[in-house]
Symmetry: C2
Subunit: 336 residues, 2 copies
């Protein structure tokens, strides 16, 4: 029921994702009448879907604490998360209120043992591939220990999604020299440098290293990460506008644009934020994917795809064992 | 002497800037031999330049405190700043060590009365125009009062450079709702909302609002601002790569690119980071412009142009009276 458009986006999106992954099954939670009327146009999806009806939906502008108080046990958001907790679903995807989704997911699924606070991870396109950036908005600020946990979680996700053994990890900072940056980041660097875990610690990176693909996993606090993510989205949109304006300026440019339209289409697809739609909540006992609230069916379907990949990859187990391993080693060091 | 290339970039850059602003005069500070051999190729510049020789240059990797200790009174950086303090120059431009430049400029020029800490401002291209973003790296973190001072300084700069009466000001945050964000930002918002100064306070903005041009002045702390700036630069470069790859993909695309090459050239110019080269130190009794260390003559010349515009605009006086006005009003409020 979440996002700006509710079932009118979610249902067609599920239908799109089903075409790509015919083995998927769906549990659609929300107002049965609205969902059924959308499902009517998608019989293949209807065959693969189970409905859970509820009248209660979390408002997009509800405060997280208020959402938890009013929406627990009965809202569509809660019931969808609960389906993951109870093993009826492998992942939950929502376009609803981010803060409410995080609070409810934490309350219902609980954090993985050893994880202090969950983070939201984004898959960020780079020049040649992709990297994982976290936290992009779950928490404002993060201490050294949390940054290290983010590094472990991001690396676990990179191992599971990208199939790499030893992902490289960088700490986002305002200079690459060791002396720069805030205490929390320096503290995390000191721990990561000596960590006997399947991570290649790269060191500090700067904002322009994200898109350059300098590392596989970019670690930062949720405030900085969110602003970096939105700034990059804004810049991409801005350059798209420049390009459009430049290509319409002269007859020759317009003719050139017509000839190159296949190339422009490929570029547009590569720059399309809908292809990268989906923030992954990491550190919980279950997979939760948050879609942009304002996206369309194409965008929401990307978030569903992402949930599917995450569920198929066994990433939650992987994270759990990595974090446990880290804490065991920390304790051993403490005891030594 | 600063930057990756020293006089071999600075001297040709000054020559470029002189062509655009024939009324300029230069004081070139550094190794006389090196400067003279560069000047030989630029007789028009030589006519307009005065040389100050010194053997001491601040290393690009010197710590600020160490640079101040070793370079005070005698380094090229110091002597150039001193020329501003003593009224021999209207502005100083350096491609040297940022931290050292800030520390020396503070020590030599002193901050404007009422300003707690100077900030570095960047001029950021938007879809239709430009905006000012500060702080982009002078300080890590900023309290409410400092953020308000940044707002005043940025607005003063917008008035002077863009010729607008009441610039709009936004606080960079991770959500536009009033409840979001860190305490410092909320505190600044509370003050800015009721400020009887020539500012249009817009409210919170998000990362994608910067390039969209939602406000004339974007206020943030130096850590976040620096990461946003570098992330945007990285994204622009990344999309340039995508574009190049897309245009080389097929014969038709290559043909289209040839026809549209005028448009691509205009686009490239618009996206060229050298056009926007120059961080302005705000809040000092004098104009200090920091160029990227790795830039070429075109880029350094942009920084010189910027210094020229700033000096012609009377911005320092404007800032001084705005900040004084603000503090008077605060005191009156405190007394009332």
């Amino acid at each position: 029921m979440g996002g700006d458009h509710g079932p009118s986006v979610v249902v067609p999106a599920a239908a799109l994702a089903l075409v790509r992954h015919p083995g998927m099954r769906f549990i659609l939670v929300g107002d049965e009448g609205q969902i059924r009327s959308e499902l009517a146009a998608h019989p293949a999806l209807a065959d693969k879907s189970e409905l859970i009806h509820t009248d209660v939906a979390i408002a997009m502008d509800a405060k997280p604490s208020q959402a938890l108080r009013q929406g627990r046990w009965k809202s569509s958001m809660w019931l969808a998360i609960e389906a993951v907790r109870d093993g009826h679903a492998d992942a939950v995807v929502s376009a609803g209120n981010t803060g409410a989704l995080m609070v409810m997911a934490k309350f219902c699924l609980k954090t993985i043992k050893g994880v202090d606070r969950p983070a939201i991870a984004a898959i960020w396109p780079t020049i040649d591939a992709e990297c994982i950036v976290l936290d992009v908005g779950a928490n404002v600020g993060a201490d050294s220990r949390q940054l290290v946990e983010f590094a472990l979680m991001g690396a676990g996700m990179a191992r599971a999604l990208f199939g790499m053994e030893k992902p490289s990890v960088g700490l986002l900072n305002i200079g690459v020299e060791e002396v720069k940056g805030v205490e929390e980041i320096k503290g995390a660097a000191a721990v990561l440098k000596d960590l006997p875990l399947p991570i290649r610690y790269h060191g500090f990176i700067e904002g322009d290293d994200i898109g350059r693909g300098t590392v596989d996993v970019v670690v930062t606090d949720g405030f900085t990460g969110n602003i970096a993510l939105k700034t990059a989205e804004g810049t991409a949109k801005q350059i798209g506008e420049y390009l459009r304006a430049a290509m319409g300026r002269s007859l020759l440019a317009r003719l050139g644009a017509v000839l190159a339209q296949g190339a422009f289409r490929a570029l547009k697809e590569k720059m399309d934020p809908r292809q990268m739609n989906g923030g992954i909540f990491l550190g919980l006992n279950g997979i939760v994917v948050k879609s942009h609230g304002g996206t369309d069916a194409t965008g929401f379907a990307s978030a569903v795809d992402l949930a599917y990949e995450m569920a198929s990859s066994g990433v939650v187990k992987r994270l759990g064992s990595d974090v446990a391993d880290f804490h065991t080693k920390l304790e051993l060091e403490g005891a030594a």
